[in-house]
């Protein structure tokens, strides 16, 4: 088991390393940040000085290694635009994104599990049909459209919930719901199809033959076997929630990582761009690692196969 975790850890680090190079290159291709920072009247000499001050005149290789070196100690440099350490900016924004993602994920799981499982158990009933409709719609509706509509109606007209920003529990609801909508759809389908397959299996038949009570057959014997693909996708979805919440954050004025990235890109703020992408990748890697460990817990065959 330990070996399993270690090997996955190494793989994640390798992936991160590759990513850091890519990010470094990409950030530099966004153009010259100095155009955005220095006033129009700046002279060539001002540019040269600024370049030197910011360390942008050193050879690329040097810049890369200094970037990596500092990153490992948590120093992502200083935002070219905001003149503050990037780490600070991230520390301000990241928790907001994570909180929103966790909230959205939690709500989605709370809906997806019972719906998906019961849709399978009561296959063909109205509940099942409703669930399937929700699932298909969830994956076909564009998130930002739902977001806009919600902001206008629920927040604007009906005034039930706040339209944006963070202001206590109620402000999580709309963005969380918008984000979680498609997760519910995906997970519910997975659960339904997984459960349908498992409920058909010989070992479930045997459990019933043994006289095990039906709800135990479903929630213990059957569900455990249907979980592995669900866990995989839950992990993927969580990563998606954190990393691509840009759109939702824009509509709901949520001060998270997505907005930071958007602003950083528009102002060619290298350090910010690099830091955001790397942080994102790190989160994804951590989540994947967690997912892999969960697998091993759920399915003993994976534990022993490694």
């Amino acid at each position: 088991m330990i070996r399993f975790i270690l090997s996955r850890l190494v793989q994640s680090l390798a992936a991160l390393a590759i990513l850091s190079v890519v990010v470094f290159v990409l950030a530099r291709t966004t153009g010259d940040p100095l155009h955005m920072i220095l006033p129009m009247s700046a002279t060539a000499e001002d540019y040269a000085n600024a370049r030197q001050y910011l360390g942008l005149d050193r050879p690329y290789i040097e810049q890369y290694f200094s970037f990596v070196g500092k990153a490992l100690t948590g120093d992502f440099g200083t935002s070219l635009r905001a003149r503050r350490p990037v780490m600070e900016l991230i520390q301000e924004r990241l928790p907001n994104s994570i909180r929103l993602a966790v909230f959205a994920m939690g709500v989605s799981l709370a809906f997806a599990f019972p719906l998906g499982i019961l849709a399978a158990v009561w296959k063909g009933t109205n509940l099942d049909r409703t669930a399937q409709v929700i699932a298909v719609l969830g994956q076909s509706l564009p998130t930002f459209w739902v977001a806009i509509v919600l902001v206008e109606f629920v927040a604007g007209r009906l005034q039930w919930l706040p339209a944006g920003g963070i202001s206590g529990w109620s402000s999580y609801v709309l963005p969380g719901f918008t984000l979680g909508w498609f997760v519910v759809a995906g997970l519910m389908r997975l659960l339904r199809s997984g459960m349908l397959e498992v409920l058909d299996s010989e070992y479930v038949k045997l459990a019933r033959v043994k006289g095990v009570v039906e709800h135990r057959v479903i929630w213990l014997h059957a569900l455990r076997n249907a979980l592995v693909p669900v866990v995989t996708f839950a992990g993927i979805y969580f990563s998606i929630l954190v990393t691509t919440a840009i759109v939702v954050e824009t509509v709901f004025a949520w001060p998270g990582l997505g907005r930071l990235a958007y602003d950083g890109i528009s102002s060619r703020d290298f350090p910010v761009i690099q830091a955001v992408v790397l942080t994102t990748a790190a989160i994804v890697a951590v989540v994947n690692l967690g997912v892999d460990c969960l697998y091993a817990l759920i399915d003993p065959r994976i534990r022993y196969a490694r």
Partner: protein, 302 residues
């Protein structure tokens, strides 16, 4: 048609689950999904015939005609069946022209990504070992990169354009195909017919193209269909953020962005493009589901 007792027993024997609708489900599987196909067909036709079908010039503005409602509402007229937007442009025409963008983006991106991804998956699965491990590391790293971020960066560096959208999405989307196809190839490799082909002297290229590829086509088709909808939504999201197709070319996503502040007053400016997206994506998803049920039910998790 006489059913053999084996089928009967199988139909009844294994199941102890309340099965309300044995018949309807099986029947559904056989029928072609007419509605989704019709919707897709309509939009494809519309996209191709846009110059002919479009009642007005999608770019012509008329500040006098701002926010005219659709024809069935008070104040609407047949001149603008679906109303006009913030700048007085005819919405119906913009929807028609916008379908070109969305469909083209969806189809082209998915074709590129699937071709490349399948190739990687086939090679990785066939060669195995270090090649496989290396390719999978790259694949994993790619999959974890947020699409929208990349598109934003491209939009900012090179400037927003159709090509950038396609490139940004395809560059990350291929990884998904690579993973799935590789999984399939691994299963196929353990089957005897590959070993036999090898013994008969077939080289790598031959085995991959003549033996492995045809057996993964089912999966590819299903995956491709299901992904078109996803790509269309991503393209719309990018256009919404301003990083997609640049104005003034009509794109459904940017239409929604433009109508954003007027959702309660001139709701049609945002609602109608939203519905268009919903219709197309829904159609592709339903078609993909049907294909999956028919071709390869084991792909349930996709």
């Amino acid at each position: 048609m006489a059913i053999d007792p084996g089928t009967a027993e199988r139909a009844a024997g294994g199941l102890a689950v309340p099965e309300r609708d044995v018949t309807a489900a099986a029947a559904r599987r056989r029928r072609l999904p007419l509605l989704p196909l019709a919707i897709i067909g309509v939009f494809v036709l519309v996209a191709i015939l846009a110059p002919v079908l479009s009642p007005a010039d999608p770019l012509s503005q008329s500040l006098r005609n701002r926010f005219k409602p659709p024809v069935w509402m008070e104040g609407g007229s047949t001149a603008h069946l679906l109303g006009t937007d913030r700048l007085g442009r005819d919405i119906l025409s913009r929807i028609i022209w916008g379908s070109r963008v969305s469909l083209a983006a969806g189809v082209v991106t998915v074709l590129i990504a699937s071709a490349f991804g399948a190739a990687v998956g086939l090679v990785a699965g066939y060669y195995g070992g270090r090649t496989d491990a290396a390719l999978m590391r790259i694949t994993d790293a790619t999959m974890s990169f947020p699409v929208i971020l990349l598109a934003l960066i491209l939009a900012v560096t090179v400037g927003p354009s159709f090509t950038n959208v396609v490139v940004a999405i395809a560059v990350i989307l291929w990884a998904r195909y690579a993973r799935v196809i590789r999984g399939q190839v691994l299963t196929l490799m353990s089957l005897d017919f590959i070993a036999q082909a090898r013994i008969a002297g077939a080289g790598a290229w031959r085995i991959i193209t003549r033996h492995l590829l045809p057996n993964t086509l089912n999966t590819l088709v299903v995956l491709v269909t299901l992904q078109v909808g996803y790509v269309i939504i991503v393209e719309a999201s990018l256009s919404f953020l301003g990083a997609g197709i640049p104005p003034p070319t009509p794109a459904w996503g940017s239409m929604i962005a433009e109508g954003r502040e007027f959702v309660t007053s001139a709701w049609w400016a945002s609602a109608i493009p939203g519905l268009a997206i919903l219709a197309v994506v829904l159609a592709f998803n339903l078609l993909g589901d049907w294909l999956r049920d028919t071709l390869d039910p084991k792909l349930r998790q996709l």
